[in-house]
Every structure is written in C-alpha cells, then in structure tokens.
C-alpha cells in the first residue's frame, strides 16, 4: 500500500511557543486516519501545514507526493478540505453553490448525486443561511468532496452534533471512503469517535505523537494502571498496578483465602486516554 501523507520531525513555533516538537506520521492510501488530542494540542496546526495553509518551522512533509509549501493548483485539486465552523456563502442556494464549486474541477461528482449522498436533496433549493448546524456540516463535506479528492481533511467535523447526527455522519464518511477509495484524515478530541471510525489513530499530546496504531493497539498502549482495594487491619488499602490480576493473586495467597472488601477497578479507555493526555500536557 502506498503512502498518502508522510511527516518526519515536523516542528512548529509561534514566536517562542513551540506547538509541535517533532511530529512523525505515516498515513496510507485509502485509510481513515484520526489525529486525536485535547484542544490546543496542535491538531489544527498540523492539518493546516498538511493543507499548505501554514508554513512549518522545520521537518519534512509530503502530501500526495508533494511538499505542501510548494503545492500547485493541480495538487490542490486532489485535496478536499472541510474546516471547522464554516459560515461562508450564506446567501447562496445549497445546490447553486455545489454546482458553482464543481465547475472548478475536471471530473466532479454529479451535484444531485452528491446532494443525495449527504442527505440534502430536499434542501437543494434552500438558502445556505437557513440550514441547521448538522445540515451545514454535511454541505461542507459535500463541498469538500465535490472534486473527487484523493485525500480529504476533516477538522473536528462532529463538534456540536447530537449522538444521532454523529452516527449518521460516521456512516457517511465510512461510505465515502469505501466507495471512492479516498484517504481521510480527521481530527477529533473525542476518543470514542476515533475508535469507532478510524482504521488507525495517532494521539497528539504535548506537541508529539505519543501513540499510533489500530483501535486495539491504541487501547493496549494507553491503558492506565488499575486500582486494587481491600480491607486489612481495619483500614482500607489501595494499590495501583499495571497488572491487577497478579496483585489479586498475591493477596489471595497472603490471606490464604478470600480477601475482605477486594475491589479491582480497571480504568476505561476514555479515562486512560485522559490520563495520558494529562501527563503530556
């Protein structure tokens, strides 16, 4: 499988503040890849460097075989970009804008098929200003993919969605990636979203990639220590350990029978992630 995005030692500073301190990434063609991290971790900065919107301080970056700082129009035509909070073209009609933007590309999607794919057929004649938040975001995705991009960037696409809208949105992205073999790079601060949607996820914290892998590898890598509690000498005892089973076994041998008040708590993936992020902030 060939590589869509390759990043080596990416650094970015704003004045004296160092936002990215050596990011390495490898995104394969056709995969859905999420960049996961808390707000302010540098996700948007990273994605803007890849999109060619921001000049990096140092490092090697290749997006579809091109350095984004030297990206031409022909290169740009192979990218789709969906940003956060877009409010542009409010006076335009939904279908009108899709048709207009499709004209820039050589091999665009059919506007009506696209409207159907994002579930906006009924809103086609409506003014964009009148769309709901979720509809607006789906329109943004339609506009992002209208030129049949090979690589789609989605920056925090489901912020502010209710669970149902979020589920629908995930289905849409999965379908688009599967149908067109499009590579998708998505940023999110929501671990559950990354786990649900991504083939692979990288966690960006403290300006570096701390973990990168499949959901299962991710779960293993971030797993925070478990807490084992029991009662001994009339007092509650607590131990944190990466191997709670061994601790319990040792306790049972020491007590030579049942351990009073024994309780093992394995943190959830979400809690583990938050701990990891907290450590690196």
């Amino acid at each position: 499988m060939s590589t869509a995005v390759s990043v080596r030692g990416l650094r970015m500073s704003y004045g004296t503040a160092e936002v990215l301190r050596g990011v390495d990434l490898e995104i394969r063609q056709g995969e859905i890849f999420t960049l996961l991290g808390p707000n302010g971790a540098g996700k948007t900065t990273t994605i803007e460097i890849l999109e060619g919107f921001r000049k990096r301080s140092a490092g090697e970056v290749s997006v579809l075989g091109t350095d984004p700082d030297k990206g031409t129009d022909a290169w740009r035509a192979r990218l789709g970009i969906v940003l956060q909070n877009w409010r542009d073209h409010a006076r335009w009609g939904v279908r009108e804008l899709i048709v207009h933007l499709s004209e820039f590309y050589d091999r665009p999607h059919d506007p009506d098929e696209l409207l159907a794919a994002v579930g906006l057929t009924e809103q086609g004649g409506q003014q964009i200003a009148r769309l709901s938040g979720g509809q607006r975001r789906r329109l943004d995705v339609a506009l992002g993919i209208v030129g049949r991009p090979e690589l789609l960037f989605l920056d925090e696409p489901t912020t502010g969605f209710d669970p149902e809208a979020r589920r629908e949105f995930h289905r849409l992205i999965e379908k688009l990636a599967a149908d067109d073999g499009m590579t998708v790079l998505l940023t999110t601060h929501d671990l559950v979203e990354a786990e649900k949607l991504a083939h692979r996820t990288a966690i960006l914290a403290g300006g570096r990639i701390t973990v990168c892998g499949t959901p299962a590898e991710l779960a293993q890598a971030v797993q925070a220590p478990s807490r084992v509690r029991w009662v001994e000498d009339d007092r509650e005892q607590v131990v944190t350990t990466p191997d709670p089973s061994r601790t319990a076994w040792e306790l049972h041998r020491r007590f030579d029978g049942p351990v009073p008040g024994l309780e093992i708590r394995r943190p959830s993936l979400e809690e583990s992630y938050l701990e990891l992020v907290g450590r690196n902030a």
Binding site: T44, E48, F53, Q84, H89, W92, H100
Partner: protein, 277 residues
C-alpha cells in the same frame, strides 16, 4: 486553468449580483439608497438653473451622483464585501479550490461592474425622466470615462479591502472618502474651494472622473466653473490611467498577502472574538 477560472469568476459575480438584487436590505441600502436620495433631490430642486449657463442645477448634481456611484461602489462597497468575505470564510473556501482566488477576484469585479451599471442607468433615468435633465451630448466620452474610472478604482478597492483589518475599520476608512467626495467638485464646483484643497482633490481619481463625466453632459458655458476653464480630457485619461496602473501594481501583492494569511484557525479565532464582543 486561468481562462477557466476567469470564466467561472464572471459567472460567480453575476450570481452574487442577482443575490444582492434579491436581498431587501442590500437593495434598499446600496441601490435604492443612492438612487432614492437623488430622486428626492431631483423633486426638491425642480428646474432651477445655474445663472448665465442655461444648465439646470439638477444636471450638475446628476453628473455628480454618477461619479460618486463609481467611486462609492469601487472604494467603499467592494472593500466592505472583501472584508465580509474574509470574516465569513468565503475567501478561505476559494483558497481551498484550484483557481479559486482568481475566480473570486473576477467575481467581485464583475459584481462591482453590475452594481455600477445598474445604479448609473437608474440615476440617469431618474434625472432625465423626473428632472428633465438632458442626455449626454458626448456618448463616447461618457463611455470611456465611466469605464476607465471603474478600471482605475476597482483594483484600488480590492487593495483597500485587503488591508482593512476588520469590518469595524471599514467605517473609519470611509471618512476620508466622504471628505474627498465634498472636495472633488462632484457635488459643487471645485473652484469655490481654497486652492490648496483643489490641488489635493486633483491628485485623486474622483475629481477626474467627475470632470470627464461633466464634459460628456454639460455644455461649454459651464467651463467658467472648472479649474483652468477647460475639460482637460487628455489629463482625465492620463490621471485615471495612472491610478489604474497604481491599483494593478498595488492590489495583487496585498491580496496575495491577505489570502495567504487566511486559515481555519484564524477564522475560528475571529469568530470566537465576534461572539465575545
């Protein structure tokens, strides 16, 4: 790629123009505002004549409004639209598209041309039908002055729109424009101004635009009110051409700079700031 982007841009400009015509606020504010004020003035002035010339005061005013329309559309409406497009992310959206920025600029210029054409036609129609003003006696001069005046100011407007930091700054930027409007001899003769002001006015395109338009509409009996007592058409052409060149040199780097600086995080920060205030 460039020819295609230009073609899409012109179409885009036309679409935006039809959107403006459909938006009541815009229609009242920009179109009917100027034309409406002129219509009211037309009725109020009646057919009073400037002594010793046989020219109605209204004709002089009509030509002034015509010059002001070009000036106001290119140097106030256009920069405001640019700033709004930047704040709403329209500029950024087109930056994500191959050839998008070129199409965007072609679109904005087309919209400005449409606005100028519609308003000019309405002003002349109002003056002629409502106030009995004469049609121009020199259509050729009217055509090239209007066109060159537009070409001279639209790139400048784009440059101004690229430099203004926010919508709030647009208000401040219009103050010198209004000062210029009163000193440039479009609403009353420049010759009644102190000589220093006359010199300042003559460095800007509005004065020459107005002079060229007066040459097309007014008889030579009005020359007494002009600086140097002449229509000075070669100067009109030269100064407007110089401003065109200046605008063409100035606008592209400024526009490139402002579009290069646009990014998602900048847009988000601006929207956050707008929500807080």
């Amino acid at each position: 790629m460039n020819a295609k982007a230009l073609r899409i841009g012109i179409k885009r400009g036309w679409t935006e123009h039809t959107h403006l015509l459909k938006t009541r606020k815009e229609l009242v504010g920009t179109l009917l505002g100027t034309v409406g004020v002129f219509a009211a003035l037309t009725l109020w002035m009646g057919d009073s004549v400037i002594e010793g010339t046989g020219v109605s005061r209204l004709t002089f005013l009509m030509v002034g409004f015509l010059a002001y329309t070009v000036f106001g559309t290119a140097l106030m409406t256009l920069p405001m639209a640019l700033v709004a497009d930047r704040e709403e992310g329209t500029l950024l959206r087109l930056r994500t598209i191959p050839g998008g920025i070129l199409a965007y600029l072609a679109g904005r210029a087309t919209t400005a041309l449409c606005q100028i054409a519609v308003q000019s036609a309405l002003i002349v129609a109002t003056g002629v039908l409502l106030g009995g003003a004469p049609l121009p006696h020199d259509w050729l001069t009217l055509a090239w002055v209007l066109l060159l005046g537009t070409v001279a100011t639209v790139p400048l407007g784009a440059a101004i729109g690229s430099v203004l930091p926010s919508k709030n700054a647009v208000g401040i930027a219009t103050l010198p424009m209004i000062a210029l409007m009163f000193t440039s001899g479009v609403f009353f003769p420049a010759t009644i101004m102190p000589e220093a002001l006359q010199w300042i006015a003559q460095t800007f395109p509005l004065y020459w635009q107005g002079l060229g338009l007066r040459a097309a509409f007014l008889p030579d009996t009005m020359l007494a009110a002009e600086i140097a007592g002449s229509w000075r058409l070669p100067y009109v052409a030269a100064v407007l051409a110089a401003w065109t060149a200046a605008g063409m040199l100035l606008a592209p780097p400024l526009i490139r700079r402002v579009t290069r600086r646009e990014s998602g995080s900048r847009l988000a920060a601006r929207q956050l700031a707008a929500q807080r205030s």
